[in-house]
Amino acid sequence: MSKSGVLLNSFRQFSSKNVTPKVCVVGAGPAGFYATQQILKVKPEAKVDILEKLPVPFGLVRFGVAPDHPEVKNVINTFDKIAKDDRVQFLGNVDVGKDVKIEELKNLYHAIVLTYGAEYDRTLNIPGENLNNVIAARNFVGWYNGIPCDKNLKIDLSGEDAVILGQGNVAIDIARILLSSVDRLKTTDITSHALEQLAESKVKRVWLIGRRGPLQAAFTIAELREMLKLPNCKTFWRPNDFTGIKDIVANLARPRKRLTELMLKSLDEAPHDKRNFDKEFHPIFLRGPTEFIGTSNIEKVKFSVNELEGEDLLKQTAKATDKFEDFPCNLAVRSIGYKSKLIDPNIPFDVKSGKIINSDGKVEKGLYAAGWVATGPMGIIISTMNNAFKVGQIVSIELDLSEDKGGYLDLKNLLNERGINVVDYHGWEKIDHEERKRGKSVGKPREKIVEISEMLKIALN
């Protein structure tokens, strides 16, 4: 360091006005980028380093959003601008908790924002959950979207019936992918390994089964409308599931009202729908899974017949009766939500809910959480965006700049010493370029690289 540099540094320790605020964001998904954007807006002099476990950024926008929804991925253009800002560094292939500890980051930064999402899936904890072809939604999505650890997922699509447990938008995405023609998917960025298997798929009927009723359905209306319009596929509802619903629909608040009206309209129109179809979509309500049955492969799922109880119609809970119904199937996908991983024992964590313990994003002095790791795996990008903006603002306001921090340079040195191959944003751009090039030759926007070693080879070359 030059003499003036040393002088400047020692001066900084005495004057907080000259201390550059340094913030570390852990997880390069929507919450991470939106928090970064907000911090830079409130504190334009700040520097933000975004750490990511994988060599590639964008989290669930790359790995969660369905391949046939490319428009939703336009937010990447905003994230790209943020990442290219002079005040921002992307450090990919850095596994916080393993490669660098939270305590170490605390010494290097004025604040840490944990935005690493929810990568584990919830289990039902019922008998038979380990049978072959009982698959977690998280792995299924990772398989078609190119999450490196899901590339070799063993999935058998040779049967005609697939049961999906859960009725959120992830469940709908999976139903749509299973019921789409390969022609519809082959021009998307779906992984080639998934496309090959889906081309051979014999799945004809998808049963989307929820514990509660139509008024509690978790999918949103755009996703349902898309299913209803899916070419070559017809939707079947059970009239009994809608008993009494027509009478109260007018009193519902607009979003729930429109969603319910769309279901009722589809129910009424179904007998008159004369389109050709050879695939079937069956949303089923009021059935709670009690057992996966089969010898080695899944053969059927046993459900309790449920009733609803509770005053508030929209918040009613399911109560099992003594009746049961079996749904034969050759594939069962469990899509009942995600939970977060505890990446470092020093983070206050609620194991039951699978979230970091926080109050409006604040975990403790200098440590914050935003997005799904803080709120739980709920809502769409806009909810994560609003949450991350709010947390980003709190972080910026509460920064304690009484001492200078080492930030990026010191972290980079530390990681180098530990032999970690950090992928910077330019490295990601090289991967991006290669993926687009490979995609072009097969008529896809990109062919995702699913081997971490291959990503590193391209990025670090």
Binding site: V42, N74, R258, I381, Q393
Partner: protein, 162 residues
């Protein structure tokens, strides 16, 4: 959403001279590029150049005046004038988010020539602070009749701070 509707929504936002760079990039690589080019060649250049003035009102009451051209969407006006609204227009006018939500007066809402499509209403259903006179900015195309329009930007984090 049906492809036809997507293309319609997309091409409506794709009026010449006013598109953001990223939207233009998207249009070039998108299937709707053809339609885009067709629009480019048939839109009347005279009408396009007519300026229309719009006032955006934040929940805090702050007024932001901006100008757009006939054929611009309200989202274009915000992008082209670099109006600072966090997260606005996240999906870049492709009708897959609700971040360009704007609130109209009853009178202006009723005057708008095109009623919202089911797909626009579907997205609005997910918007924060939804009202009966809410629309998505990407779906409102400026005409001379809209000159002097005032629209409210729903309460956001921006306003919470001030």
């Amino acid at each position: 959403m049906a492809l036809r509707q997507k293309v319609m929504a997309f091409s409506r936002a794709m009026v010449p001279q006013t598109i953001s760079k990223s939207a233009l990039k998207a249009a070039r690589s998108d299937q709707s590029a053809l339609i885009f080019r067709r629009l480019l060649s048939t839109t009347n250049p005279q009408a396009q150049n007519k300026e229309v003035s719009v006032t955006f009102i934040r929940a805090s009451g702050e007024k932001i005046e901006a100008k757009g051209k006939v054929g611009d969407s309200l989202l274009d006006v915000i992008v082209n004038n670099e109006i600072d609204l966090d997260g606005f227009g996240a999906c870049e006018g492709t009708l897959t988010c609700s971040t360009c939500h704007l609130i109209f007066s009853k009178e202006d809402y009723d005057k708008l020539p095109e009623k919202p499509t089911d797909e626009e209403l579907d997205m609005l259903d997910l918007a924060y602070d939804l009202t009966d006179t809410s629309r998505l900015g990407c779906q409102i195309i400026l005409s001379e009749e809209l000159n002097g329009l005032q629209v409210r930007v729903p309460a956001t984090i921006n306003d919470a701070r001030s």
